[in-house]
Symmetry: C2
Subunit: 203 residues, 2 copies
DNA sequence: GAATATACCTAGCAAGCGCTTGGTTTGTAA
DNA sequence: TTACAAACCAAGCGCTTGCTAGGTATATTC
């Protein structure tokens, strides 16, 4: 006789990538990015990790919860990395560059698929989940806005921090559609291009 | 006794917005943008235009063909408008500004919903349809690239036209997520911000 | 006034979907 | 050895989906 234990949902921290849950999240990010959330079935996801479709629901209560978890962990990882990189930086111009570089890495590095899912599959979240994820995003955006505001009062940039951040969000996130890390151009080169567009001189 | 006539697919030109097909396309753009293509059912679309779900297939052979038509007409309309506006412009800097302004209007004006669908629902097209739409996009992108290349050889911009165009694509298309035409900022203001970021002086 | 085309309706099929249920296997630790 | 939880399987339910079939109403054209 077996008893039902509710599938766990929001762990306090990151998921171990080698755990069954971690492998599931990685494959989910890949499939959701590749085919879109709605066009990815739980059967697709299950066979990608080599289990039966029903077994998914031992790890997550619903399909949507998988999507939410993918987004959640992506933001948490990238907010954390941004924070720790900023600690080593005093100069404001250098701080802006650090943020640009971090965001390019988020988008084009290991968490890239999850970040793309975050942008493209937003509407597939319920309103409750959207609010939950939005809260995490606001922490991330707060760091950006603080830094840009400092750059403005230091006279490094002319534009409104709000508007500049929005142009940057678009320009940087769009790199996922065309930038190929295996090509000639490095992420550092990319960041250089951005910085020269912003008229901020190298530190 | 009724005989089957295949539903029409690609008309030579634009669809009359007042025709049943036109109304369907407008509602489709709206719903696809609002809820996403996959989450919009033919029943949703039918009831939005006030007909039965089966009647949709009198006008389009498949649901995907509706998506394709939405994208097709959006590109055609905007390529046409861009072309005609450029005719009145000689100065290269002014030409760049015209393109920026046109694209902002495409994204935030009447065709905005269709343009958003073009960006967000790309993966819902079959490969064959993707190729078809890509051909139309390449005409549009050709105009951009010609103009930016001219601006570069005139010394107006420093960046590679290819890369600059990509940054611009991202930054401009992202405006749909935050810019509100009914607010204080006009599209001209927005274009001004972009031009100042590109260091191109007013004509 | 017969023929034809357009625009729609009613009813429903076949397939695919997320998810549930009840159970088995495997690993860990007392 | 027994106890127990985590990880998974096999089967399938109930519902929604895109789409089809066969028919009707109305307007236009010859």
């Amino acid at each position: 006789m077996s008893q039902e234990m509710a599938a766990p949902s929001d762990p306090p921290s990151f998921t171990d990538p080698e755990s069954p849950r971690g492998r599931l999240l990685r494959q989910a990010a890949h499939l959701f990015r590749d085919k879109g959330y709605e066009r990815t079935t739980v059967r697709d996801l299950a066979s990608a990790v080599g289990i039966q479709s029903g077994s998914i629901f031992h790890h997550f209560r619903t399909k949507e919860e998988i999507l939410k978890a993918v987004m959640r962990e992506a933001i948490l990882v990238n907010t954390g990395r941004m924070r720790s990189r900023l600690e080593a930086v005093a100069d404001t111009g250098e701080a802006v560059r650090t943020l640009v570089q971090c965001e390019l890495e988020s988008i084009n590095g290991e968490t890239g698929e999850a970040m793309a899912v975050l942008v493209y599959e937003w509407r597939s979240l319920s309103e409750a989940s959207q609010a939950e994820i939005l809260e995490l995003r606001e922490v991330y955006e707060g760091i950006w806005l603080d830094t840009l505001t400092r750059a403005k009062s230091d006279g490094l940039i002319e534009a409104e921090p709000f508007i500049l951040r929005r142009f940057l969000t678009g320009a940087l996130s769009w790199t996922i559609t065309w930038y190929r890390p295996e090509g000639d151009m490095t992420i550092e080169n990319l960041a250089d291009h951005v910085m020269s567009m912003l008229k901020i001189p190298p530190a």
